[in-house]
Symmetry: C2
Subunit: 210 residues, 2 copies
DNA sequence: ATAAAATACGAATGATCATTCGCCTTCACA
DNA sequence: TGTGAAGGCGAATGATCATTCGTATTTTAT
């Protein structure tokens, strides 16, 4: 859907009193439950409001529209993922290659644990994807990643290093998503994560040689 | 949307006369144009019918519902992709590794050329994904791929070979999709395809060693 | 205690769609 | 040339939703 006037996603007003903060929290939790249990197609403002034990009108006090709820959830997913990866990237107990492997496994694991929510958010993505806000975040934590790649494969040109970092993230998110959508056992998911990391590390080693 | 009664996707009736075959063809072409130009959200039966210069009623003579049109288009995409890959996998002028590279590039290229259509079909996927028919196809052309992998990395156990084949397909579709969604120049797309193939080939070589 | 500010409510509004069905037109064939 | 089958039409139906707004309740500050 191109050329949509791209609706506002920012909160309409911010909660001032304790009860309204609770209300916003209840709406977000309810939104997650609706997405997990009923999927993106059943994600309607009325359903979310009633699952939160709140009226539609109240919902619209704090969210300008349906998309803004989805966007907010997606933002929180991104933030959590960033924290997760950053923690592993900076874990000095492991060497560079092991950190890249561990991060891949951790990402695949959460992607798999939260598969219904992630899938539903993905299905709903067309609703919020084209908004201006959606394109700001993205390349957080890439400095740490570039440093890690340098440690794993010293001597790459900055250009190649940057490309490798993007490749790592892209392979992680793309393959992780696809793997979590087929439903697999945790052991299988781990095997896929390891294979993806192995693929990337093998590529890095060969890049170094050339 | 789980637990939906999964609507029929099979054609309601088959065209008997030339004019109705033309009508079905016109509807499919119009559906493609609507998806490409207006996106999945604007994909309504009325819009498709009027773009085809046909009435909604006529559309429903040959398609039981909206989803069946999307499903039909997706099937045709799959078939075209299978033909493309199979042609390259069996191109005896190239050695195994080169065929795997060439197939990756060709796939990324078409994915990129048809980006708007592919993206819209992906956005609409929730509408037809959970139907029984959707899960039949999938692993076509994998025998040829396994043979190719055996040629590129002889001596893998059948188990590892099968896994590698799945990994190749998964990396291709997942990364290809992600790359086509960011809009990139053809040269960049080629670089991503090459990198993805390189990653896979490096992985294969290291698998052999172990 | 009381007024002003915040919150909460939910029926009503207006729009959009998928799908149907009764009726008309065109085709194939005898 | 007549007739039954196939094809085509599009207004009408029924449902679902996002969003608003007038009103009622609760909180805060004085």
């Amino acid at each position: 859907m191109p050329r949509r006037p791209s609706p506002p996603l920012a909160p309409r007003k911010t909660p001032k009193q304790a009860r309204s903060s609770r209300l916003v929290e209840a709406i977000l939790q309810a939104a997650i439950r609706v997405l997990e249990r009923d999927g993106a197609a059943a994600f309607t403002t009325i359903r979310v409001a009633e699952r939160a034990g709140v009226s539609v009108g109240s919902l619209y006090q704090y969210f300008p529209n349906k998309e803004s709820i989805l966007f907010r959830l997606q933002e929180e997913e991104w933030a959590a993922t960033s924290r997760l990866l950053d923690g592993i990237f900076n874990d000095t107990r492991l060497d560079a290659a092991e950190r890249l492997r561990a991060a891949m496994r951790a990402f695949f694991r959460t992607e798999c644990d939260e598969a219904p929510l992630r899938r539903a958010l993905g299905d709903a993505a067309p609703l919020y994807r084209d908004s201006p806000q959606a394109h700001e975040k993205r390349e957080r934590g890439l400095p740490a990643l570039a440093a890690l790649i340098d440690a794993a494969a010293p001597g790459l040109t900055p250009r190649k290093r940057a490309f490798a970092a993007e490749l790592y993230i892209t392979a992680m998110t793309a393959i992780g998503k696809q793997v979590s959508e087929a439903d697999r056992t945790p052991a299988e998911v781990d095997a896929w994560a390891t294979a993806t990391a192995d693929m990337f590390l093998a590529y890095l080693r060969e890049s170094k040689r050339r």
